[in-house]
């Protein structure tokens, strides 16, 4: 009896959902007919005819829209991967400083975290780009031309690695932002380790820094990992704000293509698929880490 009732409810809800979708799709097809755009992906093979400043693989404007999208996806990956590494470093250092003993470091870490977490990322990105990079007059050299040169054209490292101002400000903005969030995750993880562990390593004569690194962090890792994963996923999603600083990531290129071809629905679907795929990669990667860590801890 009860099984039958739940079946009715499900069929009812299923019908409602189906009718809702049907009406929406009907409207969509009317609107597409009205504007003479049929749902298809053939346009992907037509030449893109726009240039890109940054492309990890060879690209020219006569290449297809599909290739341009792929380049955009690679550009996104380039940002996400580097930001992911640096923000993890920043996050761990800040998180440890935040829970450490030095009051000066504590205050600085705390004010960095609140300042970054309480202001919008978009504003920060525009700050890094327009104020941080474009306002540089001439070149700033640290400590000599061989190592690091900053200018409004971007960053030059070791004399031959050139990073554009767009890429650099995006990476800096994302890492500074994500770093603050990771720091909180790390702090949470460290606080979850019993206080007795500190006394333990102090009593065996380990100093503060190596104690935290060798004793506390490994124990905190299982608590840190899930939070870290979700911050990485956020980082990937936030990288789409590249459009605000003129960097050609997957969203910016989709936007240009949708504008040129008018294929809003198809472009949107491709954008969604590429993000689902990206998320899958990051999740798989983190699962892999998780496995390694659990294995390591069992041993």
């Amino acid at each position: 009896m009860k099984g039958l009732r739940s079946l009715y409810i499900q069929v009812g809800i299923g019908l409602v959902l189906f009718i809702l979708f049907a009406v929406l799709i009907n409207n969509l097809s009317i609107n597409l007919i009205r504007t003479n755009l049929n749902f298809s992906f053939k346009w992907l093979y037509r030449p893109a005819s726009f240039a890109l400043a940054e492309h990890p693989l060879p690209y020219s404007p006569s290449d297809s829209y599909a290739w341009a999208l792929f380049i955009g996806w690679l550009n996104s990956l380039k940002v996400i991967f580097i930001s992911l590494i640096i923000s993890t470093l920043i996050g761990f250092i800040t998180g440890i400083a935040r829970t450490g003993r030095n009051p000066l470091l504590k205050i600085i870490a705390a004010s960095y975290i609140t300042l970054i977490r309480q202001t919008p990322l978009l504003l920060q990105l525009m700050f890094w780009y327009f104020v941080g990079f474009l306002s540089i007059k001439g070149t700033l050299i640290f400590p000599n031309e061989r190592i690091l040169v900053l200018s409004n054209q971007g960053i030059k490292i070791f004399g031959d690695i050139n990073l554009t101002a767009e890429y650099s400000s995006l990476v800096i903005g994302l890492t500074v932002f994500t770093g603050a969030y990771i720091a909180e995750v790390v702090r949470g993880g460290i606080n979850s380790v019993p206080r007795g562990q500190w006394e333990a390593f102090r009593s065996v004569g380990l100093n503060e820094n190596s104690g935290v690194l060798k004793i506390i962090i490994p124990q905190a890792l299982p608590a840190i990992l899930p939070g870290l994963t979700s911050q990485y996923l956020n980082l990937a999603k936030n990288s789409t704000l590249a459009i605000a600083v003129g960097y050609a990531d997957i969203y910016a290129i989709s936007d240009t293509i949708i504008n040129q071809t008018g294929r809003a629905i198809e472009g949107f679907i491709l954008l969604l698929l590429s993000f689902l795929f990206l998320n899958l990669i990051i999740s798989l990667m983190m699962d892999f880490f998780n496995e390694i860590i659990t294995k390591y801890q069992k041993v």
Partner: protein, 348 residues
Amino acid sequence: MRSFLAGLIGASMLLTGCTTKNEGPKSRLDLIKQRNEMVCGVSGKIPGFSFLKSNGTYKGIDVDICKAFAAAFVGSPSKVQYRTLTAAERFTAIRTGEIDLLSRNTTFNLSRDSINGNSLTFAPVIFHDGQGLLVKKNSGITSIKDLAGQAVCVGSGTTTEQNINDAFEAISLPYTPIKYQDLNQVVAGYLQGRCAAMTSDRSQLAAARSGFKNPKNHIILQETLSKEPLAPASIGGDQKLSDAMRWVIFSLITAEEKGITKDNINKKVEIAQNNPQLKQLRRFLGVEGDLGEKIGLDNDFVIRVINATGNYGEIYNRHLGPNSDVPIPRGLNKLYTQGGLHISPPFN
């Protein structure tokens, strides 16, 4: 996600049959009249064309064209909603019906006009422009060849982007395009030295330069990269709306040709009413005949338009004339009688 998509496709297959039952779509013009208000897409960020002033109103030649349409379609130049659109979102906005028409520095070209392209219909050109390059005077750059290998700031999703690309491909030299979403960022990028040059339509370059601290330190190169006839646009396949738009613009040009201005329009109407022999003038002003009705408007639409905005020359001088904030010499934008390109077919 997969089952969701499958559902979508299935549902759409089932329902494509239903769509044909729907009768032919209504003209947007009727919708505008019914709503008693018109939605006009503008840029809002280009001095002289459409610009947001500190008191919250919009001003510029594109805005005045919107006002002329509104005066003709719904009877008052103030019954307009302005939507500020970036270059990249403007066509999607027109396609989705978010705006009725576009009056936003839009270049008239084949792929935008055609059914397999953006599927728009363009009204007559309101400003003949050409793409140019703005560089710093002391940079020593005198032609596009000097820009080889350098960065050029450009707005994304524009024909400008394609033209600069074509220009560099034609001379087989490399360059780096730095693309921004809107012109104000392009200007910022150029002024702050991210790029050696910025490219856009000459009118926009002139407009932007007029706002610089030292306009004289910047020059627009002689080379013109393209023809850029700027025109208002509406969705393709809506003849009623596009006809009405076309003749409103022609009425602005004809009015200038006939010397009809905002100040003397009432006098001209009186003259037309009292002189039955002035057939042309009477038809134009709607005193006689039914020209207005033929395009789905009131017969006196020209009077309302001129009362609202003045003729084409007046609009031009108000926003781009020598005493305006953004002086641009009229050049190609003179009437054909004075050696320019603006000409209107007869109101017969």
